[in-house]
Amino acid sequence: MFYLFAAVAIGASLLVIAQRNPIYSVLLLIGSFGALSGLYVMLDAPFVAVIQIIVYAGAIMVLFLFVVMLLNAPHEDTEYDERVHPLLRPGPMRLGALLALLLGIELLWALGRGGESGVFPGGAVTSVAVIGRSLFTDYAFPFEVTSILILVAMVGAVVLARRDTARDRRDRGGV
């Protein structure tokens, strides 16, 4: 079961960065998040799994999809042939792909050296009540900071995405 979810997650993530059309990328990423949610259930974290589906797949990805459709620019305009393999492309892009590959190999190598067997012990914390109590006592301060972060992000998004009305007004007044 783990291997099924892992294969879906890796395959969908690979297809996300292989697609040219961002709409397909977003939809494939939702599939990848679904597989990760299944992995969270297998890790005895059902609450995280549900939150993953509702918040990530339901809210954040819909936001992405909304922007993709709003901008209506499905295709990348690039000066080279998109079908060429990234490692064969010129210049910094080849370096970037090599760096990413190197990072993956390095992480796998470091994990392969780990001596512990890493078998999961019994007695996992699955109860939502325990998580909630810890969130509102031990982690109360980060929780409140998070709420301020969301407020700032909300205001920032509104300000950034707004049309520059002051300049529009000046332009109209000048004519």
Partner: protein
């Protein structure tokens, strides 16, 4: 028998895929999606370690990471929209003048 190492290796692979996406793609929205892949790989590591240590802390950190991801997506997409209004393009190479 699926052990902690399996989850960590899967997480490493996903993180490397996300990194490759950031480097290889020339589309601002796909770059943001690759960052989401990387954040999810880290989330998987947190939950796996929390399960291995038998504590709820890993799951709580995941909530904070998700909140930061939501804030990042909102602000990032707002920046993408306003950049698109300027240049009618999503290619980061067309914003090279921001470097100077």
């Amino acid at each position: 028998m699926v052990t902690l190492n399996h989850y960590l290796i899967l997480s490493a692979i996903l993180f490397a895929i996300g990194t490759a996406g950031v480097f290889v793609r020339r589309n601002l929205i796909t770059i943001l999606l690759s960052i989401e892949i990387m954040l999810n790989a880290v989330n998987l590591t947190f939950v796996a370690f929390g399960r291995a240590l038998g504590s709820a802390d890993g799951q709580i950190i995941v909530f904070f990471v998700m909140t930061v991801a939501a804030a990042e997506a909102a602000v990032g997409l707002a920046i993408v929209i306003s950049l698109f209004r300027h240049k009618e393009s999503l290619n980061p190479d067309s914003f090279a003048s921001l470097k100077w």
